[in-house]
């Protein structure tokens, strides 16, 4: 079963420190492929921490591993992923004449990978 949610891409401390070591390093790859999800949403989808999740946007699809966040920190229906090659796959190239592609609040379909 897949659900529609809103994906926010952003910086994180670990993403910042690991990018210095290099984008091909294990730490950066791990950090930029971790998807933060509201714990109640995870429970409803039958997901545990580190389970693979397929995330699909209008333009692309990735598989990330999920990590739970308390409802007070991450509202239901909202996802967070650190910037990186994975998050970029989901971005549309249309900037609506602004030069800026939407990297935050991207509509995505998510489902557990079985």
């Amino acid at each position: 079963m897949s659900e529609t949610m809103i994906l926010i891409g952003g910086r994180s401390s670990a993403q910042g420190t690991s990018v210095c070591a290099g984008k091909f390093g294990t730490e950066y790859v791990n950090v930029s492929s971790t998807l933060e999800m509201n714990v109640e949403d995870m429970a409803r989808l039958g997901l545990k921490d580190n389970d693979p999740v397929r995330v699909r946007s209008a333009t692309g699809e990735i598989v990330a591993r999920c990590k739970g966040r308390a409802a007070k920190d991450l509202p239901s229906g909202v996802l967070f992923i650190a910037y990186g090659p994975l998050s970029s796959v989901l971005m549309d190239g249309d900037t609506a004449g602004s030069g800026m592609p939407l990297s935050k609040s991207i509509d995505v379909q998510i489902e557990p990978v079985r």
Binding site: S18, C20, K72, V78, V89, G93, T95, G99, M100
Partner: protein, 447 residues
């Protein structure tokens, strides 16, 4: 007993805070920076991980080459191209940025910086609204109300909180945190929320409506209580915030990608800038876009003073033209228009949308970077350059336009971006025979 020496007052260029109080301990035997006093966790990683690596000076189509050979190959690509683009520039010195714009002027190409995918929308809004702003020292010394909007400085700019705003003691704010009210506005509760007195959780994509409602409340206009359904923020909360904003002594709105990268983009930035400007009818209020990379502000400044426009500049007709959406790099690549690209200190193959990356694979790409990146891996010509701030000196601008001179710590065998770009510039000029003059006489002629 290791041989070490200390460089005092060096500048960290990892983020836009550009902290210039780094005291670096350099191990002369291993050629590494082993200590960075005053650096935050990001700065420490920056200094630690940018040592002198063993890498080829250059790669041409995957084969090792010398810097000179690569400069020649790069110049040929640019001289032959009909729509060459130059992109990146936020992680290099102003001296290098000036050479890049010069190249664009000679070849009649486009020059764009990472601003276009960062605070470009804020630059667009600036052209519409203007901006009331201040240097970071002014904020530290006077601000008694700090509002962070759409950013997570605890993780992206740690010392923004500790050196410049929330906890730092200031001339007229002698008790630091105790003399200030801190507000955080975001769609999720990040670690930054821990420092806030007031946290406003906004529904994703609704920042514009919140900002506009605040503008109305500041001006004494009524706002319908249904604002809560639309934005997730109760009217009473907004009324309280508006009141605090009008009654503070020196208020500051610091904002990030949460406004520029989501629905509304430049309208969001514009609403925030207008709100800050409006508030000056009641008190002293400033806004500041929190800049990401170490010298993106320098890139804005250099491109602006040389061309009149801050980013997304095209010179194909012989003079600067500016049009976001037409000349900005994501668009030019996504529409498959560029036929060559010179990328300096940026990694679009990692950060851009897929259609743009796919086009980068189709055209000849030249990359200047100290490290191996996704972009350097697909480049036809990849030139290894020395890291600015670590090995290369020059000028950088902090997010508030304060210019600083770098104090490099580790000599590097690799050339600076400036010297490589100067070499490319000179070679391109030789190949073209001077500046490229637009072929006005051929307009309308048979092909």
């Amino acid at each position: 007993m290791a041989n070490t020496h200390v460089i005092r007052d060096a500048t960290c260029t990892f983020c836009g805070c550009v902290c210039d109080d780094m005291h670096l301990t350099v191990d002369d035997d291993t050629h590494k920076i082993v200590k960075a006093e005053n650096a935050c966790v990001l700065g420490r990683a920056w200094f630690k991980e940018h040592g002198i690596e063993q890498r080829p000076f250059a790669l041409i189509e995957g084969r090792e080459a010398s810097t000179e050979q690569a400069i020649d190959a790069a110049a040929r690509i640019l001289a032959d191209a009909r729509f060459p683009i130059i992109y990146g520039l936020s992680d290099t010195t102003c001296e290098a940025q000036r050479q890049a714009v010069a190249i664009a002027d000679i070849i009649g190409g486009s020059v764009d910086t990472t601003t276009s995918v960062c605070h470009g929308p804020s630059g667009i809004a600036f052209q519409d609204v203007g901006e009331a702003t201040a240097t970071l020292g002014e904020i530290r010394n006077r601000a008694d109300l700090l509002i962070f909007w759409g950013g997570n400085p605890a993780e992206s700019h740690p010392r923004l909180f500790t050196r410049y705003t929330v906890t730092a003691k200031g001339m007229y704010v002698p008790n630091g945190r105790k003399d200030r009210t801190v507000v955080l506005v975001d769609v999720r509760r990040t670690p930054s929320a821990a420092v806030a007195d007031i946290f406003l959780q906004v529904k994703p994509r609704r920042d514009f409506e919140v900002l506009w409602a605040l503008r109305a409340l500041v001006k004494g206009r009524p706002v319908d209580p249904t604002i809560e359904q639309v934005t997730g923020v109760p009217l009473a909360t907004l009324e309280d915030l508006a009141k605090r904003m009008k009654s503070c002594r020196f208020g500051v709105l610091l904002f990030g990608m949460g406004l520029t990268m989501t629905r509304g983009r430049h309208f969001n930035s514009g609403a925030l800038l207008a709100l800050a400007s409006d508030l000056n009818e009641y008190t002293h209020f400033v806004a500041k876009p929190v800049r990401g990379h170490g010298n993106v502000t320098g890139a804005d400044n250099v491109v602006s003073w040389q061309t009149g426009f801050p980013f997304g500049v095209n010179l194909s007709r012989g003079y600067p033209r500016f049009n976001p959406g037409e000349f900005t790099t994501v668009d030019v690549l996504s529409r498959g228009e560029a036929d060559a690209a010179l990328i300096i200190a940026a990694d679009p193959a990692s950060n851009f949308p897929q259609p743009a990356i796919e086009h980068l694979r189709r055209i000849p790409v030249i990359v200047l970077d100290p490290k191996s990146t996704h972009t350097s891996q697909l480049a036809k010509v990849a030139i290894t350059t020395a890291s600015y701030g670590i090995s290369v000196g020059g000028t950088v601008y902090r997010m508030d336009d304060v210019p600083l001179t770098l104090r490099p710590a580790l000599p590097s065998p690799y050339p600076s971006d400036e010297s490589v770009l100067t070499g490319i510039k000179d070679r391109v000029r030789e190949l073209i025979g001077g500046n490229r003059m637009p072929a006005m006489d051929r307009i309308g002629a048979a092909a």
